[in-house]
């Protein structure tokens, strides 16, 4: 079992969740297979088999949403000595634009 998972109390599990590992009863018999999508019926039957925790597969953590305004504000701060209108300073200007594209996850045409 290598995928990230969380041992979840049966009461907190919901249909649609995915098992990250096999589930066995107290005697070691396999009740449900790894990778199975849970249904209402299964959850009911697991309670009768005395199972109280399930290994639930965790979705890959989504990248935290970016706050474009805060990012722009911080970039303007670190580039505070660069004057966007100073054409003689184009190299710093290009670096600034590239880092803005990178941090603000803008589409870039290769």
């Amino acid at each position: 079992m290598s995928a990230p998972y969380q041992l979840t109390p049966l009461a907190e599990t919901r249909p649609g969740m995915v098992l990250s590992d096999v589930v066995r009863d107290g005697k070691g018999n396999v009740l449900l297979a790894q990778g199975l999508v849970l249904t209402e019926t299964m959850l009911g039957s697991l309670a009768r088999h005395g199972v109280d925790m399930l290994p639930i597969l965790q979705a890959e953590p989504a990248p935290p949403p970016i706050d474009p305004e805060a990012i722009q504000c911080r970039l303007d701060h670190v580039f505070r000595k660069q004057d966007r209108d100073d054409l003689g300073d184009w190299a710093t200007g290009i670096l600034r634009r590239y880092v803005e594209d990178y941090r603000l996850q803008r589409e870039v045409n290769a």
Partner: protein
């Protein structure tokens, strides 16, 4: 008065903590190929802390090894002599200066910036087909003169820190205003004292002036890497400031935007991993 004379600077350099003899040997021979590797591996392995740090770096994902190396000799076999030498010197230098001597000088932030610049210079060098190990070391050492000043003249450097905060200036301007010399002078003095190669000395001397005739390509790589790392804001210092980028140095890189975006990503990832190992 906080002015420093060249004599005071030289005396400060003499009094610096010394690196392990093996590391001095490695630094001064960085462009030499004919070195007895087995003798070297043995000498390094006498220093357990240094060996442990070196091996952790070698096993970090930056080097993409499929097997874990457990001895210096193995690291040399899998990564090559140049790269291993590079890791040994990195592990030694980041641990050799005393910290917390100068009020207001943030040692951790200094090293985080140096490590990030090293990673970025290495990534740039690979795209330029320039020697990656030399670029890495030059990136790591480009501002070493600041540590020389902080270590040898902590009180005077405290005044530099204050001046810079008041004037929102770059370090070089603040050092010149307060001390009359700057970290480039101090870095060059150290390069001479520690017997760095000529290429490395040039890179330290000209990383703020890559346009100067004879500055060399390595100085341009370090100059651009330094600016990128400031722009990526990797040390997250409140007063982070991107220096003016030399258009000559930028032109010399000949990379398009797509290449830079990959470079930014690579720098961030390697920086995260390496600083965790080296700052532990």
């Amino acid at each position: 008065m906080n002015r420093l004379t060249p004599e005071q600077l030289a005396a400060g350099v003499q009094d610096l903590p010394s690196l392990p003899a093996i590391v001095m040997e490695l630094l001064s021979s960085i462009e030499q190929e004919d070195i007895d590797i087995s003798v070297l591996a043995k000498k390094v392995s006498y220093d357990q802390a240094l060996t442990a740090k070196t091996l952790r770096l070698a096993n970090s994902s930056s080097f993409g090894l499929q097997v874990k190396v457990t001895t210096i000799q193995q690291a040399i076999t899998f990564l090559g002599f140049q790269t291993t030498r590079n890791l040994i010197t990195t592990a030694a230098i980041t641990g050799c200066f005393p910290s917390g001597r100068c009020p207001g000088f943030r040692d951790k932030a200094f090293w985080r910036h140096s490590i990030a610049t090293a990673a970025c210079a290495r990534a740039l060098a690979r795209r330029m087909r320039f020697n990656q190990d030399i670029a890495f070391t030059a990136g790591l050492l480009h501002d070493i003169g600041r540590l020389v000043l902080v270590t040898a003249h902590p009180e005077a450097y405290g005044a530099v820190v204050q001046w810079r905060a008041q004037h929102d200036a770059d370090w070089q301007a603040a050092e010149q205003a307060v001390l009359g010399i700057d970290h480039v002078d101090a870095g060059v003095a150290l390069a001479d004292h520690w017997n760095f190669s000529g290429t490395m000395r040039q890179a330290i001397a000209y990383h703020h002036a890559p346009d100067v005739h004879g500055a060399g390509f390595l100085a341009a790589i370090v100059h651009v890497a330094n600016a990128i790392v400031h722009a990526l804001d990797l040390t997250a210092e409140d007063d982070e400031l991107v220096p003016r980028v030399s258009s000559v140095a930028w032109d010399a890189m000949r990379l398009n935007e797509e290449a830079y975006l990959h470079l930014f990503r690579e720098t961030e990832l390697q920086f995260g991993e390496m600083s965790a190992i080296l700052m532990a």
